[in-house]
């Protein structure tokens, strides 16, 4: 999340997640935003899910063109599950950008409860990152993690791996640079396919 800048691909993917909106005004020629409608114009009162970046842009007009609703994973019923035991939730299935998306959603949450859920969820799930970093079944341990959790767990697993190699080996050996090795690997895989 540290890079939520203009050029950040991860922030772009986060803001591509969809959010339920209600249109407050007619929008000529924008009927295609609602896949269930066949008219050219989008009518006021239509409910439709649109990407966050578009919703933010429509919401920030004066007067706002849409009213934003919370996606269901940030609503009461899901929040109860998360607050009870966040570690049982498969974030990869539920919401891959749960925290980052949630940070944008939080300001549309009048009761201000979303931000606490985000924080509590990460605090609880930290132990999943810890165990994923030392797990022998790394695929299984990483599976239920969100995108950013996966990145953190993978970095921790690298540290863990380097440390256990250090403990076991004598000297460190020089190795092929990362991108060079991966480029070769990919080339070989492509050759084998053809």
């Amino acid at each position: 999340m540290e890079n939520s800048g203009y050029l950040s691909i991860s922030d772009i993917l986060v803001t591509n997640e969809k959010i339920p909106c209600k249109f407050l005004h007619d929008l000529p020629k924008m009927g295609f935003l609602d896949p269930s409608a066949s008219e050219d114009d989008l009518k006021a009162g239509t409910n439709v899910e649109i990407p966050l970046w578009l919703a933010e842009s429509l919401h920030s007009r004066r007067p706002p063109l849409v009213a934003v609703d919370l996606p269901k994973i940030y609503k009461d019923s899901y929040r109860e599950i998360l607050n009870a035991d966040a570690c049982t939730v498969d974030m990869h299935k539920l919401s891959q950008y749960f925290y980052e998306f949630g940070c944008y959603i939080a300001k549309h949450d009048i009761k201000g409860e979303v931000s606490n859920t985000l924080i509590n969820t990460f605090r609880q799930r930290f132990r999943m990152l810890l165990s994923a970093s030392v797990s022998t079944d790394s695929v299984g341990a990483i599976q239920p993690l969100s995108v950013s959790e996966r990145l953190q767990a993978a970095a921790a697993a690298n540290t863990e791996k380097a440390l256990s190699e250090w403990l076991q080996r004598g000297d460190s050996i020089l190795t092929t640079a990362n991108m060079v090795a991966n480029h070769r690997k990919r080339k070989r895989a492509e050759m084998e396919m053809h």
Binding site: G5, T15, R127, L129, S148, T159
Partner: protein
């Protein structure tokens, strides 16, 4: 940091060796060492000791703490204490790994000593993991690292600092009450240089 980088730093520690050759004083960036007299103990940096040992030019004098009774006590105390206890030195693991790896014949009871040091390390590492989890759960903003050695602190990176940073980011962004005008796709360039990976 790569563990080998920590090892490199630890290799500057001074240990005692007994050379089997005589030679004049040598002048190194880290200091002057020598003159070397065959059969007389002399203090040198760990890396130099290892080099001499590999060339069979010396015998290593095990550090005071590399001894069964001392280590047995350390292990018991480490088990008893909720906190991290003080280790014989900042790079005990580097010293143990290098000396027991290259010169185990110079250390009495080398095999037992190896096992007991590994036990101490394992106790401390699992304590470290437990306290990281407790720290995150309690929402504490800082953790005390008293008596943790450099290699041990290094093992918590980048996970612990990055997770705490992540939490702070969520707090900052999600609790932003002031509604700022949305500028998601307009360029407010704050370009950060990408750090060069290895």
């Amino acid at each position: 940091m790569d563990p080998y980088e920590v090892e490199f730093i630890g290799e500057n520690r001074i240990i005692s060796v007994i050379p089997n050759f005589s030679y004049d004083k040598i002048y190194l960036i880290c200091g002057e060492f020598g003159p070397f007299r065959a059969g007389l103990p002399i203090n040198v940096p760990l890396w130099l000791a290892m080099m001499l040992k590999q060339k069979q030019k010396c015998r290593i004098v095990p550090p005071d703490w590399m001894e069964l009774d001392t280590l047995e006590n350390i292990k018991e105390e480490e088990k008893r204490s909720r906190f991290f206890t003080k280790m014989p030195n900042e790079h005990y693991m580097v010293e143990a790994k290098l000396i027991l790896g290259a010169a185990s014949e110079d250390v009495p009871n080398a095999a037992e000593i190896k096992t007991i040091i590994k036990d101490i390390w394992d106790i401390r590492m699992s304590k470290l993991r437990t306290s990281m989890d407790a720290l995150m759960k309690s929402g504490g903003g800082y953790g005390r690292l008293d008596h943790l050695t450099m290699m041990e602190i290094n093992s918590a990176k980048p996970l612990l600092p990055s997770a705490m940073d992540y939490l702070l980011q969520i707090q900052k962004k999600a609790q932003q009450r002031v509604q700022q005008p949305s500028a998601l796709n307009t360029s407010t360039f704050s370009q950060s240089g990408s750090s060069q990976n290895t």
